[in-house]
Structure formats: C-alpha cells, structure tokens
Symmetry: C2
Subunit: 670 residues, 2 copies
Amino acid sequence: MSIRPLDIKRVTITDGFWSAKRALVRKEVIPYQWEILNDRIPEAEASYCMHNFKAAAALNKRAVEQGSAYEAPKFTYRGFAVFPETREDAKDDEFYGFVFQDSDFYKWIEAVGYTLATNPDSLLEETADKAIDIVCAAQLPNGYLDTYYIINGMDRSFTDLRDHHELYCLGHLIEGAVAYYEATGKDKLLNAAKRYADYVSDKFGTEEGKIHGYPGHEITEMALFRLYDLTHEERYRKLAEYFIDERGKSPNYFEGEHPDMKGKPDYYHQAHMPVRQQTEAVGHAVRAVYLYSGMADMALKSGDASLKSACQKLWNSIVNTKLYITGGIGATHLGESFSFPYDLPNDTAYSETCAAIGLVFFARRMLCLDPDSKYADIMELALYNTVLAGMALDGKSFFYVNPLEVIPEACEKDERKMHIKPVRQKWFGCACCPPNITRLISSLGQYIFAEDQNTLYTNLYIGSETVKNVGGKNVKVSVMSGLPNSGNVSISVTGAAGTDFVLALRLPAWTAGNYKVTGADDLITEIRNGYIFCSGFAADTCICLEFDMTAKVIAADEKVSEDAGKVAIMRGPVVYCAEEADNGPALREIRIKTPVNITENVTDEFGAEAIKLVVKASRVKMEGSKIPSTSLYKTFEGFSSEDVYLTLIPYHLWANRGEGEMSVYVGVEW
Amino acid sequence: MSIRPLDIKRVTITDGFWSAKRALVRKEVIPYQWEILNDRIPEAEASYCMHNFKAAAALNKRAVEQGSAYEAPKFTYRGFAVFPETREDAKDDEFYGFVFQDSDFYKWIEAVGYTLATNPDSLLEETADKAIDIVCAAQLPNGYLDTYYIINGMDRSFTDLRDHHELYCLGHLIEGAVAYYEATGKDKLLNAAKRYADYVSDKFGTEEGKIHGYPGHEITEMALFRLYDLTHEERYRKLAEYFIDERGKSPNYFEGEHPDMKGKPDYYHQAHMPVRQQTEAVGHAVRAVYLYSGMADMALKSGDASLKSACQKLWNSIVNTKLYITGGIGATHLGESFSFPYDLPNDTAYSETCAAIGLVFFARRMLCLDPDSKYADIMELALYNTVLAGMALDGKSFFYVNPLEVIPEACEKDERKMHIKPVRQKWFGCACCPPNITRLISSLGQYIFAEDQNTLYTNLYIGSETVKNVGGKNVKVSVMSGLPNSGNVSISVTGAAGTDFVLALRLPAWTAGNYKVTGADDLITEIRNGYIFCSGFAADTCICLEFDMTAKVIAADEKVSEDAGKVAIMRGPVVYCAEEADNGPALREIRIKTPVNITENVTDEFGAEAIKLVVKASRVKMEGSKIPSTSLYKTFEGFSSEDVYLTLIPYHLWANRGEGEMSVYVGVEW
C-alpha cells in the first residue's frame, strides 16, 4: 500500500508563516538569482551559468552557419572549477565556473516553474522563455547538453562520471523542464531534456558497447522516474533502474576512471557495495539522500521488496544514529559527509542545507512507500529548522553549513571550523544551497498532503486548500494552522457527505500524545501509523486539532558524546537556540536549572511574530586561585553561580542580528 | 645577570625514577634506533638514513678514483619523501626517505654522545665510530653535507630553504658532533660539522653575492651558538646571529622560492615579521620553540635587550594562552601548529612530543637568561608529562601526538582525529619524536642544575651529584629525591665551609607555598625569584626539603572553552588522567563529587612504583523517554546517578595497558 503526493497546482497555500517565505522567494530570491546567473550582481561571486550556455550556443550556431555539425575542439582539461581573473576577462567562447554550473539554471527554472504554477507572472514567464531559448540553443544536434564539454571538447564527455556531473546536470535539467512544463504547458525545455535523456539512454546500460557507469553525483535517478511519470516512456524508467542497479557493483566503475581509487571502498559516492546491500548511510550526505530518494521511487514503482527494505534500513541508519536534532545530516565537512554513528559534533557540524533538503525529498518518498507519520515527523523537523535556517529573513543571504554551536572567533581562526560561517553569505561560487531552498519552498504544496484513492493525508499542518475527487465528487479540504507559533489547527471538509472520503490526520510525534480533537464526534475515527483516519463524513465538517506545544527539554542519546550533560529545547517541531544577542558571550557558562522552568514570550523582533523562550538558568564560573608560572590554570575552588534568564529563539531565526555566539545545546544543572 | 647549565659530565644521575628511564634509553632505545637507521627492523618503517650516507659516500669515492671532484647529476626533483616499493627495491645509488633523513643519524649520535659521557661503552663507541666514518665519507670535498642533494643533484642545493631542511640537517649535525666530541674527545664528526658550517657561512649572509635566506626549519641557530661556545670561532656566532636577524624581514625570503606565498604572512615558519617584533607564539610549534631557543641563546651572549624582551613576550604568549596542562604545545594538527590563544582542544590536540621537548630547550635557556623558577616549573611540567608520555614503558613504542582525551573509535573513524593514535606506534617514517626523546633523556644532566660563579641552582629535583669549584675549593652537592612519587628531597653539601658557595633551591610552584625546610637553620637564607638562596655554609650540611604533594584540582581559565565545567588533577608536577582500563568506557559520564575527596594508592602495575589517585565521583546518565520517529533523542527527565570511584593514573603512564578511552579533564559536580 502506497500513497502519492499532490500536484502543486492542486494545493493553494494560504498559510501566514509560509506564504511570507514563499513571497520572499518569488519577489526577492528568484529575481536575484536570475541576476546572479547573468553575473549582474557585482558584490556576489559571478556564476557564468548563462555565459556558458551562450558560449555553447554560439559554437552551435557557427557550425550551422558553416553547414556542418558542430565539432568541439579536442578536450583540454581546465579543472573542476575555472574562473577568469575578473569578470571583464571572461572570454565569450570559454567555459567558467564549476563543471556543474549548468545546474544552477536548471534549479532556477524549476523554482520558476513551481512559482508560475501557483502564481502566474507573465513577466517572469517571458524571462524564463527567453532563457530557455538560450539553453536549448546550446544543445548539440545529437541531444547532448552539458556546456562544460560542448565548449571544452566532446571527445572526453562521459569519461569522468565520478567528478564531472554531466549526468547530474541531466537530472536537474529534467527536474526543471518537468516543473516548467507542468506549470506552463510549454514543452521546449522538456523536449530538450527528453532528447538529452534519450542520448544518455543510448549510451548507458549493461549491453555490450555501452558505458557501464552511473552518476558520480546522484539525482538523475529520481529525475528520470519523474520524467517517466510524465511521459510514460519506458526507457526513462529503465535508465533510472539501470543507474540504481549498477551502482556499487564490483569492480567499482569509478576505479577505471581513477586508478588511484583501486581497492578503496567508495563510500563517498555510495558505490562501496550494491545499493540493496547498503544498510548504513555513508559518504557525501547530499549524494546519499538523493540516491536513497531514487531508490525509494524505484521501490514505489516496482514493488521491489529488497529495495524497500534497503531504503528502510538506510532511513533508520540516518534517523537513529546520524541525525542532528535540527534535522540536519552530514556531520563532517571532510567530504561533506556522514560521520560514523553517534558522531554529531555541534561546533564542527557540516549539516549542509542541501542535505536537509535531500532528507525532505527522501522522507516524502518513504512516506509514500510506507505511509507512517514518522517520516513526516522528520520531514517537518528538517523543514522548520535546518532548511529554514538556510535563508536569511530578507531572502538575501544563505547558509551552506548549519552548525549547532558557533563561537565566531573560532570560525575565523580555527582551520577545523573555517567551513562554519557565523553569518549568512550572499552567494556561493558553488551555489547549490540557495537555489535548492528556492525550489523546495516554491514546491511546498507537494509536501503538505498525500493521497491514495479515497484518502487524503495531511502531513504538514500548513494553511492550505485542496480538492480531492472521490467517486466523482469534489471534496474540498481547507487547513488553517497556527504553526509554528501555536498548535491550533482547524480543517474544514466540504462536499464529502455520501462519499468514501477518508481524511488521515497526522499526529505529530512532538505532541507526545497530548492533543485534543473536536468536531470529529460524528465521524468514524481510527488511529493507525501515526494518523487519525476519519471517515463517514455525513455533512460538511470542521475538525479542530489542538496540539500540545509545551516546550520540551530534549537530551541526545548517551552515545552522542558531544551532547553529554547538555539539553536542547524544542517547542512543537521548532528547535531553539541561545544567541549572544540575548544572553551575552560565553554561552558555555550557562546551565539550565532543574526542574526546568520555561516561559514563552511573543516577540516581533524578527519581522513576523515568533515565540521566544525564557528559561531559568545560572551562569556558572569555576573559581580558584591562579597557579604561579602560568595564568592559564588555577586551583579549582568551586563554582560561583549567578541567576540568569536564558533566552532562546527558534533555530531558524539565528544569525539575523549580526555576528555572535550561538548554541543549540545548553548545559543543565543536576 | 645570567646563569649557565652544567656540562653533563659534571652531573652523575643517581635517581631511581630517571635512572630506569635512562637505562631504557641506553639499553633498548639507542640500539633499537641503530637497527632502524640501518633498516634492519622488518616490522618498522625503513629509514634509509645510513643507506643514503653510504650512497653519497660511494659517489664521492668513485669521483676520487676517477681523479676528479665529485660531480652530482643534474637535479631531478623526487619529492619531499621518496620510498621504494619494498626495501629490496631500494637502489644503492638513490636517496630514500624524507629530505631531512640525515638528521636521524645526527640525533642518534647526539644521544650516543650523551650516553658515552656518563656511561662509557666501548662496543657502542666502536659502532658509532664506524658510522661516523660512513657519514664523513659522504661529505663533499668543499664541506657540503646533505645526502639528498649530493645524490639528487647539487645544482639545486639551497634553492628550497623553506622546505628542504639542509640547514636543519646542519643544525643537528652540529648538535650530534659536539655531543660526541665532548663525550669522547674524538673530533672527526666535529670537523665535518665545522667544515659544513664553514661552507654555509661562506654562502649565507647579508653581503652581496651571498644567499640572503635562513632555515625553513629552525635549530641551526642554537646549534651554531653551541659550536661557537666550543670553538670560539666568531664566524659561527655571526652566522647564527645572521639567521636570527634576517628572519621575517620584508619581503619574505621564502616568497622568492615559492611565489604562491606572496603576500601571505608566513606564520608557519615564524617569518611573518622580524623576530624582535614577534609577541605571539605562532606557526609550527617545534620550529617556533627551536627558534625561540636560538633567540634566547643570542640574547644571553649578546645582552641584546630587545631580543630578551621578545623572548619573554613569546614565553608569556605560550604559558599564558597556549599551553596544555600537560606541558604540551601546538593545539592543532593543521600545520602541527599553535592555534589561537585559549584554543586548547583535548580530543584533537596535536601536542607533539618534539614540541614539548623544544619547550624544555626554550625553558632552560629562559631560565639561564632570566633566573626565575617559573621557567623551571614549565620545564618540569613538560618533562614529567608530555615528554615522558611520548615513550612506552618498555621504550619500544612512541607517541608523536599527545592528546588529552581519546575515544579510540573516533581516532579510527573521524578524519579530524586520525592524527591521534590511541596506542603508541613502533616507529615513524618521519621519525623526529623518538630520537628527540632519546637525546633529551640522555642529556638530562644539563637540566638539573645551573650555575653562575658561586651559585648552584637546583632546577629539577632529580637524584644526582655534582661538584662545583668555588674559589678553588670543590663543593660537592648530592641530591636525593623521592619525586615524582614523594615530595621529600634531601641535599647534602660537603666542602663548602669557608667558601662563598650559594645553593639556590627551587621552590616548585606546585607546592603553592606549602613546603618545609630543615637543616638550613645555620645558613643565611633568602627567597628570591622562586628560589631559596642558601649561603654561609660553615660545615657539611644536609638540607631536607619536604614539598607538599597533596593532589590538587585544577581548572583551566574560563577562556578555554573546551574545559568549561571540567577539572584536571595534579599531584606535584604530575598530571593525572582517567583510563577506561580502570573506569570503564564513557568517561564523559563521570563527575567528580565536591568537595573533592582524593585518596592515594601506591601501585606497581606499571613496573616501577607509581601513585594512583582514587576520587569520589558519580556516573551520571541523562534519563528520559525516547521521542518517537528517532531513537537518537529523548525528553530529558533528569539525571540518574551512581556513586563510583574514579581512578586516575599519571598521564605519562597512559596507554600502557592496551587501547581504551582516556581523559585528562573530568566533569565536576556543582
């Protein structure tokens, strides 16, 4: 039994909290990103993304004018990332940026598609159409489309699958093209995507003469399933399945390209063993959850039990041993990777924004594969904490890395922490995170509900409306939600009388069973897999849910050595943190008093209303007399303690008030 | 006013604790190292040190036979470290190992010299003489002696001063040659050292046509001062002064060799500014303290006040902001360097054994320059903790890196901690630490006393005897010491009656003023700069010192964020640590109860008698109920606590009972 997400066109988001974020994405981020793609923001790193498409298009055009097929020059390796000295030095016919720079446009057009699907905007659509013309003009007559090789030399295309992201770019192209087609009905980019996918499908596979490789950075797998869903072309499904089945077979394909990898288990690319045998989430965290998402898609479509079981094991590996309380994953910046189980350092955390987004992707697919609210819990956790923290309140700066503890001086001076930025950055040369946030927030409608024939699942309590056709009748469901500030949710169902409509209301884990349902007395209700299944609608109905949002004190498992003796505070799905702005520096000196006493205060310090928590605590110092010969050490003579009130703010709001210390975990008195 | 160390021949060590270590060095380590230098230990990494000298000697011999001066081939760069596939593949005429491999012999011969000075051994001396013959045969007729360039091509010699250690090798050659000469009176190696120093002295200097560079790895500076002390040849002193004065001038000399360094402050090599302007200890820790030692030597000889002041500032920078409680320095493995002030992580510490040894060098020189017991305190701290921890009890394995906290699983799986080894290693390809320990322990006699005309300073309380001539009369001083187990020291002075002899007895900082002196009633005593100055000896006298060795609870300065809420225990100069072997795993759960209750237990578990400490503590766990959807987190419902006895052992004894957790700092109840 599985369920499926709703097309975003079917979901109208009316939520106060999220609508503001979505408006920000629409009005600020998408236009800003377009300027970035065109290198028109002087103070941000140049992207060269549209530059590269134009350069490739010009090469194509010249070939056509000369009456010949385009012939690229002999390949010369120009590195994984090439930038000119200054923007002015950029040559019209050269490739710049990272090898995967094309994908920046694809992510942008994907977000544009989602936005247009729900918020038509003819000016934006016109810009997008013109951009698509440029991109399509870069495609080779045979369907190949990756500007790095078109410009630098096609003779080496597909010879470095491990590092060179051609298949990754195909994946993002598909995602963008499908989104744009679904929003606008325009198929120009979709056709380009299909042609590139056809080209790849001809080249790759188990058959003799074909390349037996697979993407070094996954995403193509889930994208191809999506293309299959739209087109029902078997070859896209087959190609996706091939990529998943082939991965991790011995000998490792990438060893052929990179002999220095010989004999080393390739955890980084999740190619250390066939995917069905994998039980531990390892390697580059974004790659991993993108792969697992593709595996879940395949399991959904094929009913392959061994693949489903692998997905569940990998899910469990993440949520039970490698998940930050903020919903972040990828504990080490070395390889932007998962660390070993229970290694979840706070101050050197990587916890990349994109990885949390990938976890949302994976969670939604697991939820569809195995409908259980536990997946929605983690999806919500990642969304309300790490994903949201990735973007500043004004939508103009972004976090790539999401630490759980920051001392700004250490980020500046400690090379082990230099990946940690104490404030959000304008843009990144390797700009994966900002456009990934954009495409997620603009496609939020896909995550709120899911359905099967008669049942509508509410997975995220976000104010929204949808209509579901049940037995020929349109049932309208409207959700009003006070989240994340209050736990009051009301859901009105109209038109369900006399149908087999079932409403499955998720019971968030964070309520710990403390919730109240009113208005459902006339319905048949059954609690199963973390949902209240309501059926027997005899009239238009309004169900009110009251979820307990009392702040909770959370401790990590004792195996997480970094968190010993410390606690974090959550309120509903929102994780809190302490900032220097409220509490002064040296947060490590603060100890929460037990029994923990927490007061809630509404604040509008962050633009919209938010809840601050105030906790009785003490600031504790170790007292003693300096030892002679060094002023670094003293004889310990006990603690001095001063009563303080510790103020906590939602983690997703941190670093919006300048640079300072931050900590999710705080010591606790015992 | 300055003082000077005693020639080791004048000091007979009779100490129970140290004699055993010294016997180990003599009987185990020195012979073992000789086998290593000759690649005869199959299970240890091959050194190729003597191989290289032989290869260079053969090239020389061939040239002489052909009646021509040796001409090296055109230089071909073979890397910073070259090793053959297997020992059998090593070719007779090729260089192997690190560019500084020659120095392994020099460190060994230095230790041999010290050993022979106090413990004649004709067999060892014969081996050494033969080895010296090989080494001297490698020297070019012009005096140059560095096998890397002799074998690989002399045309590039002195073209990579930053990385290629030719001047570093000169420094170690001098140290070894002087030690061997002073012990045996044999001057063959000394003459080789002088000839190489002469060659360098001709090539380097401020004069036009000379190379204006200086060593990329310091040591030559202090070595040249030593050579000057022995030979009174002005040019050695001038060369040393030139190296110190030239360092850090702008533009940085190394930029010429390595244009990529242009404009970047060269902290790593302490060449970011002229040495007299330096106030913060930075860069590679071993290089730093070797440089500072040379600077102190120069200040001593020249009376240069600005240099003395720089030395004092750098000393203060170390001991007040960058010193581990174990006497270790160099907090980060990135560049094996000092980190920023107060950044003293326990579990990722570098704290290289060689750096602690270098700190001992620097401390002894500061003590001579500015006689104050505070320098001896730090010298003793480094010696009894990090230096001693560097060698296993059986003298057969060594620590390069000396962490203050170890969880073995993390060392294996966490790339940020892979420099940390939970047990000592047999030998290292880059074998700086083991021979450095050897030369320090075998020259311990230099560190116990110091003197000026009439005064003998006791700086380390190590059982020993010496004779000092005062006004033509021999005053014999014998020290008996219970350290490190007991604080009872007795000092007998004979033959001082009627002389101006002054005995300066160091008052260790760790007594915190709690000590008793008996037997000095008839003397004139004055306490100054951390010493009791005793004079007016009218008869043979025995002074008994009783230093309080009560274990003390130590806390780090509150700026050291890693140690907040934790304490360490010291007893006398000995720092203690908790091991899994005594306390089980998860040491982080243990909290010392306050007021701290410590019991001492004598143990012979480590061969010789040692003191274990037992501390009342509790093992604290955070209790709560698992949150659904992830088993990593739970609601915090308070602590459960179990009374335990925490057993602590001297830090220098850790990791002698197999692999397990270790921690110097332990949480404390408040």
